[in-house]
Amino acid sequence: MDAVPNPWFSWDYVERNWSEVSEQLVIHTTLTLQAILIAFLIAFPLAVVARRIPRLAGPIMGISGVLYTIPSFALFGLLAPFTGIGRTTVLIGLVAYALLVLVRNIVVGLQGVDRDVVDAARGLGYTPARMLFQVELPNALPSIVAGLRIATVSTVALVTVGVVVGYGGLGQLMFRGLQSDYRAQIMTATLLCLALALVLDLLLALAGRLATPWLRRRAS
């Protein structure tokens, strides 16, 4: 039935179309990193506020929870009429989804800091700001890194849904591969997505390890 060969993978396709594939890979990567960076810059103050003012913890977690529950497809649909088709819409959506995971993990990390350590620091005369950055933040790092890893891996997968508004990075290749019924194109984009998620995850894990040398000493 298949008159035209339709392989699941083809190096020939990858070589011939590398400029297009690499272009989407770059878009995918920069979009992910940008989204995570923005989401972290929003999530960190929110988490600190939620931790310092318990009365605001409920609303902050509630709103980010609602944002997280709205399906990505619908969120892009909600934004597209206002922010147009393209990068901005996808970026806003990605930030909204990364927010809950990051806020939750930062709050959990800050909550997990030993009370005695905080008390000792306060006794030494640490100001609230110094307390946050020199005592609480380093102690919360493992949980924060865990949150960053989950958020990053999910974001890499989520970028593909951007095809709804015509800006899905590697998802664009998947969708076009489907439209032209060419399996190798879909498979190439899929494998690159998985590889990108894996590489970013490993890099974050490595960065986390380098940032918390005291944990390694304790383990050994």
């Binding site: 399906p71 497809f73 619908a74 909600l78 597209a80 009429p81 593909t160 998947m174 489907l178 998985l194």
Partner: protein
Amino acid sequence: MSLVSDAWDYLTTWEHWTGANGLTTATFDGGWRFAQDSIIALTLEHLWMSFAAVSLAIIVALPLGLFLGHVRRGGGTTVVVSNVTRAMPTLALLTLFAASAIGYGNTAVILAAAIFAFPPILTNAYTGMADVDSDIREAAIGQGLTPRQVALRVELPLAIPLIAAGLRTSTVQTVATVPLAALVAGGGLGVIVNTGLATQRYGQVLAGAVIIAALALTIDFVMSRVQRAVTPAPLREAAATAA
């Protein structure tokens, strides 16, 4: 703003809810499918696809998770499974299935959604069973319960809160995944958004997105009630912290 009023008009036009020719349309092979121009029919189709996907996932993941948790083996595997599926884009699986022998349409969507509904159920069933206090297990064995009785009468009731949390996660996630069906010629509420984008009727896009978001939030609320109802009162505190 005209955009919002367009969306409002779309939502308040009765024909958009019931469809021009009823809730179903005949297919060329003598069967029927849900009408793609009716919000009610698309919602029903959406719910049916979600139900099918979650059911499939439950049938496979629940017994497997309960068994592995009971024998306390394969914990590493369940973690790997859930990590890999997190990295796997839904769209990738969807397009791969649609391009394979499965073909375009709802079957590919239900299968893909079932695969993504699988890990939360598996992981939570496993963790729920495996994390039962060893003292409780030993007390049960000491009282002469068979391994089967330990699993069904001691571990399972204690694991219910986590299992229910896993079901909620995977159900909500499935309802959120099904809209992507519109991209592979499937049905469900994504059709409204997709058609709106294709025809540049952004009021309709907005209306469709609002309906999908409302459905997801409703399902999340209903599932949180179900989760609460099946969790024995003394365990509710623990379940709240676990979720």
